[in-house]
Symmetry: D2
Subunit: 148 residues, 4 copies
Amino acid sequence: MTWPGSAKMGGMAVGSTTQIRVRFAETDAQGIVHNSVYLVWFELARVEYLERHAGGYPTLREQGIESFVTESRVRYVAPAHFDERLTIRTSCRDVRGARFRFVYEIDRDGTRIAEGETAHACVDALTHRPTRVPAWLVEAIERAEATE
Amino acid sequence: MTWPGSAKMGGMAVGSTTQIRVRFAETDAQGIVHNSVYLVWFELARVEYLERHAGGYPTLREQGIESFVTESRVRYVAPAHFDERLTIRTSCRDVRGARFRFVYEIDRDGTRIAEGETAHACVDALTHRPTRVPAWLVEAIERAEATE
Amino acid sequence: MTWPGSAKMGGMAVGSTTQIRVRFAETDAQGIVHNSVYLVWFELARVEYLERHAGGYPTLREQGIESFVTESRVRYVAPAHFDERLTIRTSCRDVRGARFRFVYEIDRDGTRIAEGETAHACVDALTHRPTRVPAWLVEAIERAEATE
Amino acid sequence: MTWPGSAKMGGMAVGSTTQIRVRFAETDAQGIVHNSVYLVWFELARVEYLERHAGGYPTLREQGIESFVTESRVRYVAPAHFDERLTIRTSCRDVRGARFRFVYEIDRDGTRIAEGETAHACVDALTHRPTRVPAWLVEAIERAEATE
């Protein structure tokens, strides 16, 4: 499995930073965070990004737009453990038509824990058909990615 | 915390039996199943009970009825571990007005792992106001509990 | 299912307060937080309580002590939804021998969302046999509960 | 995000098939299965694969070998809903040194729901250093992939 994203991510402008504290319920019998939990954390990071830069998820939904996750990838670099404090840096990319992408880097005190990305598609909330990312959101993302 | 249910449960007529196999993601860093997972298992057991005896959840929803969990209790008797096969015995009780209750016993090869109960209320799917458990469901539960 | 705890909880001295923000992954297809998630939140509240008043979980484990959840109860008063901010008030009670109990109240802007309690037992980390709650922890809990 | 795996997966020899029934707790407020749950299902599929072809996870651990997930990818093709029955086809690939890979296809009655892959590394259970996939496991995988 090639990992084309990581080169780009090294130089990423960070649109948002999210602090995580590992929950005990997120660990498994190997004594580390279960691999599925990172996708939950990525979602927290997206929610904070949208809140900070675009008025939050509720604003999107009020406009009759839903978004679905169409792909996800995680590269697990070093294990995370109960009660550790982690930082997620998040950036939004490649807004085209109905589609956009988030990339993520998770660190613990400067040590890389994981990297990943998710791909998304906007759909009309009623018909569930693909619909263009609205212009105001495209602009909000451009602003967020340019200034930081 | 008193545990009034366990005496009754000792003599319970079993309306339904559900087989569980412990998932790795359900364990935590103590090497055992996380305490929150038992409520997920209770739900699996309820779904199977309703499927077997009352046409399943979809039938309820088609009739415009939703049900909410109003209380839950678990007594953790012995820890459960990855890949173990467990049996949940489930019984429905105390159907009165809009309310009903499920009791559960989880065993591993005859060893008691946990006991618990959940309380539920029927609500109208549109108004979310309490609504009587429909007569056909009351009868289905009576039949289920009488014959086994 | 009687609920003896709630009277006591009404007058509870609060040993610790934890802020929660509802994650999207914690919701279910009824559009509300799944009933199992409250036990995860109670655990977050316990961890914060122990960190604030007793040096945290790691201190316990360094002393060769583990603790297990032996019972849990939740009363779901009003549903919680994605992105809501909730407050958990936590109090530790009834420390006797190897056993102790936590009680919890979850509110959203002064509206009661849920109440609950968990019972715990200390065990020796090696033998997994019950062991008395250490004197320093009994004292830390007494201090925490007296001053607030 | 390119998806190089899917071409290969189209012609995959299936080493193992796992049946899944969607749990209510696995859904979210969009009314569909949460994107993180697919990684839990992939794990179920791996566990069944290893059980069927290689004596199961316990055999690996008895030999002092642990394995870690180093990467994961999911492509979400169509949403899954509560109570649906899904089939996961699983194949093990690219065993080289300490590393191996699983690929997965999830279908509902012949409709593709998701595809994915996970990459893994064997480590010594004590030192957590990479260790070659043992010869007996390499052979078991070759046999599994050849005959089906």
